[in-house]
């Protein structure tokens, strides 16, 4: 019973913090320097990983699907399969997981450390709203960065799939045919589905990781626990929300 009450309390507090941060978005222009700093940090930290991850996701997708399709002679449809899988599902989800681990962990650790060492209390005593000062810039930055990274992941993933299709002798789909098929099957709407998802995933990462960080109490050991809980929580929520968002987006088309 206590566990359930705690979960409900945490959800309530996290939602309260999220609406507080969304309410502070009106001060985004005044706080633009903090937002830009976070955007650059997220971009610098994530872009190389996004490229590596996406090229191999696209490649392995082409490899697995290509082998299966080649037995039925349908490998010419590989472009659209890789294209749709990447843009609608794999790019937003994998970028969500990557950013939860890379950026969300950093958010949680930094805010947990600030909480443990009384820096958040110090902000409150100076009449500085910690949600405006700490949460809002991170939330805006990650929600802005996610779609950009997903677009990069889409293109790099498609490219990775194309390379594997062309060089693998068993699949043997020329690069041009692969991209022609991809262009015919993937529409702008498919890409925007992924982008909407990615923005929601960014919101989830920011809210879960900032909430966990800001409510940390104790010492250095608790900072470690917080990071683990925040990253795992964000990934679980991304997976759950992915299903429901997919249902909503599919039914809306």
């Amino acid at each position: 019973m206590n566990f359930l009450l705690n979960v409900l309390r945490e959800i309530g507090e996290a939602l309260f913090m999220m609406f507080g941060a969304l309410g502070q978005v009106r001060t985004a222009w005044v706080n633009r320097q903090k937002i830009i700093a976070h955007v650059l940090e997220i971009g610098n930290a994530s872009l190389p990983m996004v490229v590596i991850l996406s090229v191999f996701i696209g490649g392995v997708l082409a490899l697995q699907t290509g082998y299966a399709l080649s037995s039925t002679g349908l490998q010419s449809r590989l472009g659209v399969i890789v294209g749709l899988s990447m843009s609608r599902e794999l790019a937003p989800v994998m970028m969500g997981v990557l950013l939860a681990g890379r950026v969300g962990a950093a958010f949680a650790a930094e805010l947990a450390s600030m909480s443990v060492y009384q820096e958040i209390d110090a902000l409150r005593t100076m009449n500085i709203n910690p949600i405006r000062f700490l949460v809002m810039p991170r939330l805006v930055a990650i929600v802005l960065c996610m779609p950009v990274l997903v677009i990069v992941a889409d293109f790099v993933g498609w490219f990775g799939g194309g390379v594997v299709s062309a060089v693998n002798h068993k699949i043997n789909v020329p690069f041009n045919s692969y991209f022609q098929n991809l262009q015919q099957g993937v529409e702008v709407e498919d890409v925007t589905h992924g982008l909407w998802k990615s923005m929601i995933f960014g919101l989830i990462i920011a809210v879960v990781c900032c909430y966990k960080g800001m409510t940390t109490k104790g010492g250095p050991r608790e900072i470690g626990y917080t990071v683990t809980k925040a990253v795992v929580g964000a990934i679980v929520l991304i997976t759950i929300f992915d299903y429901f968002l997919t249902r909503i987006l599919i039914s809306a088309t």
Partner: protein, 254 residues
Amino acid sequence: MSGEKHDHAVRVQVERLRKSFGRVEVLHGLDLTAERGEILCVIGPSGCGKSVLLRHIIGLETPDDGKVLIEGLDATSNEAKERYRMAMVFQSSALFNSMTVIENVALYLRENRVLKNEGQILMTVAKQLVLLGLTGSEHKLPSELSGGMKKRVAIARALVTNPNLILYDEPTAELDPLMAINIGGIIRDLKKQVDVTTIVVTHDRELAFGIADRVAMMREGVIVEIGTPEQVRASANPVVQEFINAKHNGTGAQ
């Protein structure tokens, strides 16, 4: 205190303050008054609720019962918040590690748009840094400062808010004896230069009896003795005598 005139410093009353964390009651209906412009040191053993008391005064904790009054106004009321400023120097200093000394001290002024002109902000900050002997450290990060310097930056950051009441939580914790004397001197000297009421919680007996106008002895969530340092030293209360006369005997027992 009676002969001094205070336009800025405030009178603080803590009335029947109660606070529990889970099943443990930390404050048991505590009463305490700090007069305008005085330095009130609250002493007591670790875990007796001193820091919790400070957190209630500044509004970081909500009491289960009782209240804090600033010049007769409920400290949590908007009127009190608009009229009076409180600042706190935390035990850990609580400086922002990614900011330089000058950025830490200027943070309140910048974020609250107290002064819109950057030149005015820098002048105000520079004045506090001179007062605290921090000239030359403006562009250092907290990680480049000694414990004593961090404390001084935290005091400068508190003073820049132009507080009516300043609270110190264990200001000499983790400092060597010389630095502790230095910080005590700073708190005492600030009384002559800034019209502010000061409440210090500490278990450092030398600091308390060295700088306080009045000393309050706290134990298990209540004030057991209060008076001038001389009055508290002369107290017949065995709890007070045990605390102020405790010495190391080499065995771990006192």
